[in-house]
């Protein structure tokens, strides 16, 4: 870790990803995946990471063939200690991409959907369950409504209901923490374009420590929220000092007099959760399916598809359709934004029932930021972007291939055609 990290707020985790010099062969594989050129060291020399440029996305970690890249933050033992403390309710916030990946860590077939077994294993470990799909539904309602608000403002000059400023178009998604940090550190002029909606993880943490106090009948200070994510950057996101909304709310409600607490206390990656289960002698593959009878485990298909590239956009279009037209979409599948093409674009024309006019929205979906984001960002900065709404996910294919997912030795994160890149410089 750098002695002086300049691009972090107080409290944030700097240097989440590091390189073990003894294992690094200087092959440059990691550099191919880094969206910001944060990997230092010439071809052949031991590599390092420029903490200030690093987005904590972990793509270098899951792509290094020699296991030289590692995470410096490990909350597994802290979570186990809280699980053993009966005065604390430990809330596991399970991201959609975790349930289709964690089975691999227990010898199950790649891609097995193990929602029931995951719930069962978490219950056995002592977690309360808050499915992040539930929070993703909240996010998409916020983000979809915000898009409509920005579009109506741009087309019809509509003002916001409460008088606050309305952000410009194109609206950029804000649920990928690596992307948000990219905007903040590489192109801060785009910050107003970012959706003001928090990510599902952060919404879930806030809900758990506000509404959840009634569900679990505990004060927020005794609710320990654990993001269970496919993503290493979510650890960074949870550490951001501005994410204390639950504390602020509870304080205003005179329900809080103690010290401030974060909305999400710690984050475990999919790999971390598998390690936690193994430490607690829980074999997920052998667990029976379990279905918790709780509102926090209810969700729509919109939240479910968040983990794939195009998923947020597809969910947003469904929401926008329903809000603008006042009708439910007959066919909820929006295929132009699916698939692994680096940048996907589409146009949708919707009838705005409020104004009685057709509104055409140009959409773009970007993933694999290391290869695809630069021209999109340059166009927005130059005011030449043809799009009104752009979904960005840092990792190739989206969260499903996040830096915190199980490492599949039979694959790589490369989603383009196989082509040689002979390192020299």
């Amino acid at each position: 870790m750098n002695a002086v990290a300049k691009t972090y707020q107080k409290g944030e985790i700097p240097g989440l990803i590091a390189i073990r010099a003894s294992a690094c062969k200087g092959c440059d594989a990691c550099q191919r995946y880094c969206p910001t050129g944060a990997i230092t060291g010439s071809f052949g020399a031991t590599h390092g990471i420029d903490v200030d440029l690093c987005l904590s996305c972990g793509q270098c970690l899951i792509s290094c063939p020699f296991d030289a890249v590692y995470e410096t933050d490990d909350a597994v033992d802290q979570v186990i200690a809280n699980l053993r403390d009966k005065s604390v309710s430990v809330v596991g916030i399970i991201a959609p991409a975790v349930r289709v990946a964690i089975g691999e860590e227990f010898g199950m077939k790649t891609g097995s959907l193990v929602t029931g077994k995951l719930y069962g294993s978490m219950k056995k470990a002592g977690f309360e369950i808050l499915d992040n799909n539930f929070a993703a539904d909240l996010t998409i309602m916020e983000e979809g409504s915000e898009l409509i608000s920005r579009a109506r403002h741009a087309v019809f000059g509509e003002k916001s209901a409460h008088g606050e400023p309305i952000g410009p178009l194109p609206q950029l998604t804000s649920c990928c923490p690596a992307w948000v940090r990219y905007v903040e550190t590489q192109c801060p002029a785009l910050i107003p374009h970012l959706s003001s909606a928090k990510s599902p993880q952060q919404m879930a943490g806030t809900v758990a420590k506000t509404y959840g106090t009634k569900v679990w009948n505990k004060p927020a200070s005794q609710i320990f929220t654990v993001g269970i994510m496919p993503c290493t950057a979510k650890k960074f996101e949870a550490s951001r000092p501005e994410f204390t909304s639950a504390y602020e709310f509870n304080k205003k409600q005179n329900r809080e007099t103690g010290p401030a607490y974060p909305d999400v206390d710690v984050v475990l990656t999919t790999r971390d959760l598998a390690r936690l289960f193994k430490k607690m002698k829980i074999d997920l593959a052998k667990e029976a399916d379990y279905s918790p009878d709780i509102l926090f485990a209810e969700y729509s298909g919109a939240g479910t598809i968040f983990g794939n590239t195009g998923g947020v956009m597809e969910a947003a279009v469904r929401t926008a359709y329903a809000v603008l037209t006042g009708e439910e979409l007959a066919n909820v599948e929006f295929k132009p934004v699916r698939g692994l093409k680096g940048v996907k674009s589409a146009s949708v024309t919707l009838k705005d029932a409020k104004y009685g006019k057709d509104v055409t929205i140009n959409l773009a979906v970007v993933h694999d930021m290391a290869r695809n984001i630069k021209p999109i960002v340059d166009d927005v900065l130059a005011g030449k972007s043809p799009y009104h709404f752009i979904e960005v996910m840092n990792c190739p294919a989206g969260c499903i291939n996040g830096g915190g997912q199980p490492i599949d030795k039979s694959g790589s994160s490369w989603v383009e055609a196989i082509r040689p890149l002979f390192a020299w410089k």
Binding site: C27, A29, S42, G44, K409
Partner: protein
């Protein structure tokens, strides 16, 4: 055949290939050791890797050229190094008589050998297989570490390391014995020929079965 005659052991194509091997494999071995231990600065390690990659390309071109331009020699070489007999076991039992000669100054009976002795045949097998693995794994590690399955690239890393260590160790022995057998050294580096008497002693089977006087060569 006259006793002061020289016989051709290494034809021009083989000598040329050997020159290219010297020019490419020696830098590869030296830079390979440096890359493993990483004792130098960032800039120096970078230069080391560039030399390693450039020498690797040179080695690949040399091997491919020899394979296509002197295919008959490649076939002969493969046939010779893979022809194993009981005599090879006997040769290894006394290690070709070299330790006795070098340490005890004593001459022990050694089984008759072909063009290559058993040690050279073993070296040839390692060079053939190890060299092919080194070249293949080297290209993958250089050009495709990002796009190949992670476990496969890791395996290629191990293969490259092990083959590199084995061939570098063999190289040390080869260099020592190459200089020790000075007539053979001169033949490979200069004119390709060794004295008939030495060939009859060191490679008696080859001389008896394969070497023919030029006067008898009808071609």
């Amino acid at each position: 055949m006259s006793h002061d005659k020289m016989i051709l052991k290494h034809p021009l194509s083989v000598r040329m290939f050997h020159y290219f091997l010297i020019l490419s494999f020696l830098p590869l071995a030296v830079t390979g050791v440096l890359l493993y231990f990483k004792p130098l600065s960032d800039a120096a390690m970078h230069l080391t890797m560039q030399i390693h990659a450039a020498a690797g390309v040179a080695l690949t071109i040399a091997c491919a050229s020899f394979f296509f331009l002197a295919y008959d020699r490649v076939v002969l070489f493969i046939k010779r190094v893979f022809s194993v007999s009981l005599a090879d076991l006997k040769w290894f039992a006394v290690l070709g008589g070299y330790p006795q000669k070098l340490i005890l100054r004593k001459k022990v009976p050694v089984p008759p050998m072909g063009k290559y002795n058993s040690g050279q045949k073993l070296f040839g097998i390692f060079v053939l297989i190890g060299g092919s693995l080194l070249i293949l794994s080297g290209w993958i590690l250089w050009g495709f570490p990002h796009a190949m399955p992670r476990g496969f690239v890791s395996l290629m890393g191990d293969v490259h390391l092990i083959a590199g260590i084995v061939l570098t160790l063999f190289l040390c022995v080869h260099l020592f014995l190459g200089v020790y057998m000075f007539d053979d050294f001169k033949a490979m580096i200069l004119h390709g020929k060794i004295p008939y008497e030495e060939a009859r002693e060191m490679s008696s089977l080859w001389v008896r079965k394969e070497v023919i006087p030029i006067s008898e060569n009808k071609c």
